[in-house]
């Protein structure tokens, strides 16, 4: 996905940028509204992450102009304001959602996913791997014409695997990606979700293989 991050705080922007890049996304960062306008004029984005307090104006003005110009890119507002009324008003102005700083990355991911699912309106973005068809927006996995609905963690786990087939992921890395840090999730929990995915993949060419002592990978049998 291609993100536009409009955020004036350098440290925060770099952290978000690093983190999104690490997940395989492409991110452009605009430190102010002027730069953001330049980016928008030349590039098509899948998602805009918009801060409210910016050096050359209020993010809400940008949002309003964005909607007036009938641009469709979804916008998630990053707000530090604790006032709920602020958050509500950004929704009225046409934001797709908002997230309160400091946010947990999994929350941002979840909100992006929810926004995109809402926006896609049923249009899907299919990934094929062997005889498996994966639709992350519809949360479905189709194996030999049999469609299985994935729960959120199964979906995220499969997303990790399918983004890099044949790459080995250690249990601990998978724990980081799958669970928020507010629970002391054990690595055993990963086995549970891997087990579920394996069940869904029964009879398919694509299989999740255990690499002893290292972790798991997705491969074609």
């Amino acid at each position: 996905m291609r993100y536009l991050l409009v955020e004036d705080n350098d440290q925060l922007a770099n952290a978000v940028l690093d983190r999104l890049t690490l997940d395989g996304h492409v991110v452009d960062r605009a430190p102010d509204l002027g730069t953001a306008d330049d980016f928008i004029a030349t590039t098509e984005y899948d998602m805009i992450l918009l801060d409210i307090m910016l050096p050359d104006g209020d993010g809400r003005q940008f949002l309003q102009a964005h909607r007036t110009a009938q641009r469709n890119t979804p916008v998630i507002v990053l707000t530090a304001r604790s006032e709920v009324s602020d958050r509500v008003s950004v929704l009225d102005l046409g934001a797709d959602d908002y997230i309160v700083k400091p946010f947990d990355f999994s929350e941002l991911e979840a909100r992006c996913r929810a926004v995109q699912r809402r926006r896609s309106g049923g249009a899907s973005n299919l990934h094929k791997y062997g005889d498996v068809v994966f639709d992350p927006l519809a949360c479905t996995l189709t194996v030999n014409g049999r469609e299985v609905r994935l729960r959120n963690r199964e979906l995220r786990l499969f997303e990790i695997f399918i983004a890099a087939p044949d790459q080995v992921f250690s249990k601990s890395k998978l724990v980081d990606r799958l669970f928020s840090y507010d629970v002391d999730a054990s690595e055993n929990a990963i086995e549970v979700y891997v087990g579920r995915l394996r069940k869904h993949l029964e009879g398919a060419q694509a299989q999740i293989v255990t690499v002893r002592g290292l972790g798991y990978r997705l491969s074609l049998s």
């Binding site: 309160v100 979840a110 929810a114 980081d176």
Partner: protein
């Protein structure tokens, strides 16, 4: 919230008392003056008649054949009878010797000329008015002094005076009553602008701090000026404190977001289990502090808004739907289903939507946090006898029985929550919001399934 107002006196009462006192004083002054004047007038006319009578008698005195003759004319007494049936007395002396009449009439005062002299005396137990005059006659060459005294009782005069007094008193009372009515009306209308001002200020919405612009009497200029000045200071300080809250949130939370994100990235790059554990603990500590900062700010916002409640119509089913869709992504993240079942009727409550939303989000957030994976959080709303109720139920461990009574206190967390990041303010916030709206927060555990049940109840509008 309201400090009792110390009252000292009342402008209206003071005005009325002053106006009434003035009216009473004027009325009694009028009464006294008119009564005195009437008394003088009546006395004067009696004196004149007495004097005329005395003169008539004296005039009839003549010297005939060297002897003194006094022929009292009839009209000399009849004119006195005009006044009323007062008794009339007379005495005639010649050179100090009693001639005829009532010998025991009090002695008249000594003469100082030919003009009649008047005096008031007592005779036969009654007050009488006496007129006396002296005439000098010449009897065979020697001067002879004839002195005539006519006296009359004063019944008639008193009666007349009593009549006049009554009338004047009537006038006085009438004057007082009319003045009193005008006084009360004047007092009323004098404080009318004050009442209007008070009314227009108290009818205002809570956040309406505009200056008073309606015209007021000149005397109230300084009051309204002070009021407007006060309101503008209040407005400034309110917006300053709101800004401060927002600014503090920004200042505290933005660096925390950076630290947290960097820590997450670091965790991805670190392989050694002990380092990973350290970074995880860092993230957890950051979560604790950022959540505490957030909740403290939310709590400050709730306390602030509860003190300045801005009531509007809030539809509870809509509120519940909004809150659920807001937190659905967070629930999905943990594979938790949010199940919402709402009655097919509108439940309108008077309240501050921002506060109510905040209370409900806190309950939902708790339910999601404490739910085991792959479970369901149920959100229901129903009408109760006294109002409307939204209940959030999870399938987790429930509230620990021992802590049930104190969970709504600040910074108190249940004994079974160690593994979950929390600030101990969520239920406090929900409870304060409910109370500010005349509602309540009920905490129970589901009877058969054991999950925690938190209900917010509000009285219906």
């Amino acid at each position: 919230m309201n400090t009792p107002i110390l009252l000292r006196g009342s402008i209206r009462r003071r005005l009325i008392i002053q106006l009434l006192a003035g009216a009473a004083l004027l009325a009694s002054l009028m009464f006294l003056v008119v009564q005195n004047y009437a008394r003088d007038l009546a006395g004067q006319s009696q004196d004149e008649i007495l004097s005329a009578s005395v003169t008539a008698i004296l005039d009839s005195a003549s010297v005939r054949d060297g002897d003194l003759t006094v022929d009292i004319p009839y009209f000399a007494f009849s004119m006195l009878g005009n006044i009323s049936d007062d008794r009339v007395f007379y005495a005639i002396t010649r050179n100090g010797d009693f001639l005829t009449g009532y010998s025991d009439l009090p002695k008249p005062v000594a003469s100082n000329g030919i003009l009649p002299r008047f005096q008031t005396a007592h005779y036969d137990g009654e007050e009488i008015r006496m007129a006396t005059a002296t005439r000098r006659l010449s009897v065979s060459g020697t001067p002879d002094f004839v002195e005539v005294t006519v006296a009359q009782t004063r019944y008639g005069l008193r009666q007349q005076l009593a009549g006049i007094s009554q009338t004047v008193a009537g006038f006085g009372i009438g004057f007082f009553v009319i003045a009193a009515v005008f006084g009360i009306l004047a007092a009323q209308s004098a404080i009318q602008p004050l009442r209007q001002l008070a009314g227009s200020v108290s009818r205002r919405g809570l956040s309406d701090l505009r200056p008073v612009s309606a015209p007021v009497p000149a005397e109230m200029e300084s009051l309204v000026g002070a009021l407007n000045g006060f309101m503008s200071r209040l407005k400034t300080s309110l917006s300053r404190s709101e800004d401060l809250i927002a600014e503090a949130a920004h200042r505290v939370r933005t660096p925390l977001t950076t630290v947290r994100t960097q820590a997450e990235i670091t965790l991805r790059r670190v392989d050694k289990p002990e380092n990973r554990q350290a970074v995880r603990e860092m993230i957890r500590a950051i979560d604790e502090s950022s959540r505490a900062a957030g909740q403290l700010l939310d709590h400050a916002m709730v306390s602030f808004r509860s003190d300045h409640l801005e009531m509007e119509d809030v539809e509870l089913t809509r509120l519940a739907q909004d809150a659920v869709s807001r937190l659905r992504p967070m629930a999905e993240l943990r594979d938790i289903d949010l199940e919402i079942s709402l009655p097919d009727l509108a439940m309108v409550v008077k309240g501050d939507p921002i506060l109510m939303q905040s209370a409900l989000l806190n309950l939902l957030d708790n339910a999601i946090k404490y739910s085991p994976p792959d479970s369901t959080v149920h959100v229901t709303a129903r009408r109760t006898e006294s109002g409307a109720e939204i209940t959030v139920r999870d399938e987790g461990a429930g509230f620990p029985k021992a802590d049930m009574g104190r969970l709504t206190r600040r910074f108190v967390r249940g004994g079974n929550t160690d593994a979950v990041v929390g600030s101990g303010l969520g239920l406090t916030i929900a409870n304060e919001v409910a109370r500010a709206h005349g509602g309540r927060l009920f905490l129970t555990n589901h009877s058969d399934k054991g999950g925690a049940c938190a209900s917010l109840s509000f009285p219906l509008a």
